[in-house]
């Protein structure tokens, strides 16, 4: 790979209406190459109906050392789950 090749993250939507799901990454030098490479590597077996690619450098990840501060505080707040409501009679899903 040459020095102007970037890593891109690939997201595939398997069916119209569903969320795009992260499937892996590829190398490419431009947007078009990124899309084509993603298509060639990740949709060979009929996996997709839409592809997103985004340069990996634009994805900001939380750091594992921040895990406590970020995620632990929600551990004991079960009242945030929508499980304390009584289901109205007759409704199957809310």
């Amino acid at each position: 790979m040459s020095e102007n090749t970037d890593v891109w993250e690939v997201f595939i939507q398997s069916k119209n209406g569903l969320a795009h799901k992260h499937v892996g990454n590829i190398h490419a030098t431009d947007k078009e190459m990124a899309l084509q490479n993603a298509r060639d590597l990740y949709t060979r077996r009929n996996e997709g109906s839409c592809i997103w690619v985004v340069k990996s450098e634009y994805i900001i990840s939380s750091e594992s050392e921040d895990g406590e501060a970020f995620f632990d505080p929600s551990n004991d707040k079960i009242y945030r789950h929508p499980t304390f409501y009584t289901m109205p009679e007759g409704s199957k899903n809310i």
Binding site: M1, R39, D40
Partner: protein, 247 residues
């Protein structure tokens, strides 16, 4: 008889392109491009399988495999451009681009054929060829408008492969007969469209269109360059050495 020959021409073009392109498998410039070229090769094998299957139906005695593996060089009707050595990546891209541009126009027309099977096979192939064209087109632009070295190399590829592009538009007696019956395509009429695609891409890639000089010919009569014999000997080796071999 003419329909059989006409179908074999289309089948052979796909088969020989596919076999040639498969030579890139595991040797691609990057992992991604390796898979891209192998995918295209597989598309072309699939197309060849469809057209050879139809040839077998028309013939009535030979199978698709017989046609692929038991014919000699002089009985193949693929255009000479499809059998040329892969060369470097730029050579392969130029050939793929020229062929895909032609196939795109050809299958667009053939999908209107009065022959239902040819029309269906053409419509199916067209979807795949559109991607082959897109993929090779973007590489033409990337290499032509890339570094000084890539530009120089791809221009050289263009100049040396140009002599094989005349065959696309030839019409011999079989082509004329098939076209008159509403089955085949008038290749000569595809020239304008092909020029348009090629000129637009070359302009965007900042490449120079080579001058029309000597053009290769003969493949419709089974006359080939020496590249085909070597390709066939590799492709046909196993079924010829072990005629009863099964998958």
């Amino acid at each position: 008889m003419s329909l059989l020959n006409y179908t074999l021409r289309i089948a052979d073009g796909s088969l020989i392109s596919a076999q040639r392109l498969s030579g890139w498998c595991s040797k691609g410039p990057t992992l991604e491009e390796d898979i891209a070229l192998s995918n295209i090769s597989l598309d072309l094998f699939g197309q060849a399988n469809g057209f050879l299957g139809y040839a077998s139906e028309i013939d009535g005695s030979k199978s698709a495999d017989d046609f692929a593996f038991k014919r000699n060089e002089r009985e193949f009707y693929n255009l000479k451009i499809t059998e040329q050595e892969n060369g470097h990546f730029g050579d392969t891209i130029v050939r793929l681009f020229f062929c895909s541009a032609f196939n795109f126009l050809f299958y667009t027309k053939l999908s209107e054929s009065k022959d239902k099977t040819l029309s269906a096979l053409a419509s199916k192939s067209l979807k795949e060829v559109k991607y082959h064209l897109k993929h090779s087109e973007s590489w033409m632009i990337r290499l032509g408008d890339g570094t000084e070295e890539s530009k120089l190399k791809i221009q050289e590829s263009l100049n040396s492969i140009w002599q094989f592009t005349g065959e696309f538009f030839e019409m011999d007696e079989i082509d004329i007969q098939m076209n008159d019956l509403g089955i085949g395509v008038n290749n000569t009429s595809l020239r304008l469209g092909w020029d348009k695609i090629v000129n637009k891409t070359l302009e965007e890639a900042r490449l120079t269109r080579p001058e029309d000089t000597y053009m290769q010919t003969g493949s419709k009569k089974g006359l080939h360059t020496e590249c085909l014999g070597h390709l066939l000997s590799e492709m046909q080796y196993l079924p010829r050495a072990y005629p009863d071999a099964k998958w």
